[in-house]
Amino acid sequence: MLLAYNWDFSFMDEYGSYFLTGIRMTLEVSLLAVLSGLVLGTLVSFLRMSRLSPLRFVGSSYVEVIRGTPLIVQLFIFNYGLPIFLGFDIGIFTAAYLTLTVNSGAYIAEIMRAGIQAVDKGQMEAARSLGMSRSLAMRQIILPQAFKNVLPALGNEFIVVVKESSILSVVGFAELTYQANTIRGATFITIEPLLIIAGIYFVLIFTMSKLLGIGERRLKASD
């Protein structure tokens, strides 16, 4: 059967550029989402570690709700629900970006919390004993060390987001998987576009994990 199959990549002439657009959209939305998710997640991790129990409650509710619901449902809510709620159209890019940010923010909050709590207690004490305020010590002493601790986990999260961004195709966000579907619909060629995007995803992610390895080694300069 396999040998009998007639491979047909003739669509590449006409549709090759679709893949490039897809790569750009996938990377753009994933990178933006993870960066925003890092900021959001760090803030939420502060809520979760707060001395005030209402703040802790807000932080952990967010994390639990996001982790306890499917990404695709979150996407539908942001894409179809939010415009109804707001009364105006937010555009598909914004909906996609918000979904991924809010989703990865919850996971990153847990990563950051673990990273911050793994920094030795003596570091905060030493910083405070020098007259640094809590927030200055957090920024100068704790967060840089925490960030270094969690870089592998953050890299992992980025990789997860790149892969999960394929779900955005369901609502018509023109990322890589959506492009393959478009080509499939237009040409009735099924397997070839899918194999191509599988290859592209793999190369993207493999490259990223290599780059992350280099970044980690750089940060180890002080070990």
């Binding site: 004490e125 405070r128 020098l130 007259g131 060390q145």
Partner: protein, 240 residues
């Protein structure tokens, strides 16, 4: 300079400090000894409010620091602290460890802070380590950097929490030498230690703490040679 009255501290149900009264004069070197779990480290940590007392009062340079609403950060700028575990900042070089607080807290210019840092490094004999990261230093070197870091804020008093307890024996001397030179220059110091020889040689006064109270105090040479209280006798017979 420091006045402590009726200091109380408990962790949950465990009472660690049970009414401590002490006065520390400017330029005085006070050594604090006692069995482990006696509350001596907690006493020291209460002085710069790393632990919040449950009762009693502490006055520092005429200000009651146990009052609510006091700016703890300003207080701590004038009280240096050296920890048993050094607690150097591992992601900063030796010189950055020292200059960070002057730059960020005192708004000293970087060049000025580096100058102060290099002076202090010279003083503790570690100039050539300025760009090394703490992980490359021996325990004794780490503790000397930690002392330099605390001194960079030009504190009025230095608190030492068992500064040599985490060191290999051959490195204790280099750290004690730095502390001795500080004492000679008239720095006010409160030192929790197990180094009885150092206490005898450098201390102006010795406090023996046990069970959360000061059991006995006096000139180190006399207390160590002729302890009066049975608990002091028992402790000293074990460590001397």
């Amino acid at each position: 300079m420091i006045k402590v009255r009726g200091l109380m501290k408990s962790f949950g149900k465990a009472t660690v400090l049970n009414g401590i009264d002490a006065d520390i004069a400017k330029g005085e070197v006070v050594v604090v000894i006692g069995p482990s779990g006696s509350g001596k480290s907690t006493f020291l940590r209460c002085l710069n409010l790393l632990e919040t007392p449950n009762g009693g009062e502490i006055e520092f340079e005429g200000k009651r620091i146990t009052d609510k609403g006091l700016n703890i950060d300003v207080l701590r700028q004038n009280m240096g602290m050296v920890f048993q575990q050094f607690n150097l900042f591992p992601h900063k070089t030796v010189l950055q460890n020292i200059s960070l607080a002057p730059i960020k807290v005192r708004n000293t210019s970087k060049s000025e802070a580096d100058k102060i840092g290099m002076e202090l490094l010279r003083r503790v004999g570690l100039e050539e380590k300025r760009d090394a990261y703490p992980s490359r230093l021996s325990g004794g070197q780490k503790q000397r950097v930690a002392i330099a870091r605390a001194l960079a804020m030009r504190p009025h008093v230095m608190l030492f929490d068992e500064p040599t307890s985490a060191l290999d024996p051959e490195m204790v001397g280099e750290v004690l030498d730095v502390m001795k030179s500080l004492a000679r220059e008239g720095m006010t110091m409160v030192i929790v230690t197990h180094e009885m020889g150092f206490a005898r040689e450098v201390g102006d006064r010795l406090l023996f703490i046990d069970g959360g109270v000061i059991v006995e105090q006096g000139v180190p040479r006399e207390v160590l040679a002729n302890p009066r209280h049975p608990r002091t006798k028992e402790f000293l017979s074990k460590v001397l």
